[in-house]
């Protein structure tokens, strides 16, 4: 693959100190949602990070550019990652590995109590299989430390076979390298907004592992962009998520090395639409997915972007985002998960509806 050397963002030259592989060229679109916005009484923009070209796209492409940049610098020939059965990160790590000519190895955690056949076979899981990913099972869902420990054991086995795995852990004791991808995303978004002379009053973004949220926040502040970045909790409640994002943001700021300080009150998280829990759909998310599809043909997923839009709708309803505001919604992708949750989303199939 002969591609031009990835260029660091001119707005933050500090990013260039970090190795990067290019998985996607160009900016993702920034689109105004001219139907949904007026329907909510706001001006609404979507940053379409679901549209980057790698294997159905999503936010993790940006994170992987930095993770695998480090891996490439270390001479890796394999990616090893852990995630839920329907993990977008796992699917994109496998796809990125293939692009680079590496082997994909993944550990799938039973994180979501769901026995649905589509959940267990379609969506991201189907794509993992098409990408020829070797899958290792991990039965404990919510045990991040144990999942990471098991990952290290798999890595040791691979090394003993002569492979050179680059391991992507999820736990907080590992560096937030991927967050740099969202520092860069904030630069790109800011540049696009400035070109159009726009100044949103709020950014709404999903908050899960926290790296997308924290990275965007750090990027914005590093540029001197003071916009509130509202993180919608998709996995942990606000009491757990706030310190996590704060810690990640400070670590990412440390990686950048600009001496940027992130204040506690700069981290905003909200868990109003989290119930009943990670990866389990609720009525607000279902409504948000339908509304975005019907007004904008914007496809959202039930785990991240749909829940994030549900959070945005909730903020507008509560007046925490006042009418007339200009809001930027960061669409983080996750589209393949729609097919894994089809039992939760779909009306009856065409032939049964006729009968």
């Amino acid at each position: 693959m002969s591609q031009p050397e990835p260029q660091p963002d001119a707005a933050l030259p500090e990013l260039a100190a970090h190795p990067k592989v290019e998985l996607w060229q160009g900016d993702t679109p920034l689109e105004q949602l001219n139907n949904l916005g007026p329907c909510l009484g706001i001006t609404l923009w979507a940053k379409r990070d679901d549209c980057n070209g790698l294997a159905m796209g999503g936010n993790k492409v940006r994170q992987l550019e930095y993770y695998l940049g480090r891996g490439a610098a270390e001479g890796a020939d394999t990616v090893l990652i852990t995630g839920a059965v329907q993990s977008n990160f796992v699917r994109l790590a496998a796809a990125a590995a293939r692009r680079l000519g590496w082997q994909p190895e993944v550990q799938l955690e039973d994180r979501v109590p769901k026995d649905d056949p589509f959940y267990r076979a379609s969506g991201n899981f189907l794509l993992d299989q098409l990408l020829g990913t070797r899958i290792h099972r991990f039965p404990q869902g919510e045990n991040e430390a144990a999942a990471d420990r098991n990952l290290d054991e798999i890595a040791a086995r691979l090394r003993s076979e002569g492979r050179r795995p680059y391991v992507i852990h999820l736990g907080l004791d590992h560096p937030p390298t991927g967050g740099l991808g969202y520092v860069e995303a904030a630069c790109e978004t800011r540049r696009q907004l400035q070109r159009m002379g726009r100044e949103p009053s709020h950014v709404v973004i999903p908050s899960g592992s926290g790296l997308t949220h924290a990275g965007f926040l750090v990027g914005a502040r590093a540029l001197g962009w003071r916009v509130p970045v509202l993180g919608i909790c998709v996995r942990r409640d606000a009491a757990q998520q706030h310190p996590r994002v704060l810690r990640r943001a400070r670590e990412i700021a440390g990686l950048l090395g600009t001496g940027l300080e992130i204040a506690e009150q700069d981290v905003i998280v909200d868990d109003s639409v989290l119930a009943p829990g990670y990866g389990q759909i609720n009525e607000q998310t279902r409504t948000a997915i339908r509304l975005a599809a019907e007004t904008e043909a914007l496809l959202l997923d039930p785990v991240y972007s749909g829940r994030c839009m549900a959070g945005l709708l909730h903020f507008v309803e509560q007046g925490r985002i006042p009418k007339g505001s200009e809001v930027l919604f960061v669409h983080t992708g996750g589209t393949p998960a729609i097919f894994a949750y089809q039992s939760d989303l779909a009306p009856p199939a065409i032939d049964s509806a006729a009968g």
């Binding site: 796809a95 189907l126 990408l131 097919f339």
Partner: protein, 165 residues
Amino acid sequence: MELVYQANERDLRIDHLLHATGSCGTQASLVVGLKAMNAHIPLMGITVRLPKAEQEEIVYNLAQKTAEKIGCPGVVARDDVTANSDYVGEGYGIPAPSTLAAIDLFARLEGILLDPVYSGKCAAGLIDLCRKGFYEKTDRAVFLHTGGSTALFAYLSSFGTSAPR
């Protein structure tokens, strides 16, 4: 036009262009565009439904009308229109073994997701033509990925996926 611009920007010579052709509209407009720009890029449509002769006839007629519409009447000659129906298999929407093998190969070598109805059949053609020696080793072929990857999920059972337990 976009493709020709991109190739020019990179100083890339394109010897072959392949894509999946079903309704004929994509192929007809592509061939008109290429001819109108005098791009000298031979185009081959891998059919996903119709036999070669039938497909070529429809594409040629549609291309004539399209050329007139953009003010370049007669720019497309009959032998500019090439279709290949060797990879349809049993019929439209039914993936052949070569389709599934092509989907597999693209995913594993490049992380590129194809679909079982259109792009997968086109890729099967590309792979087979390479193996048969239809292309020279030094030729540069462009595969036009026409999308359709959402159909992968509708063909779940074709991939023999074993659900995790």
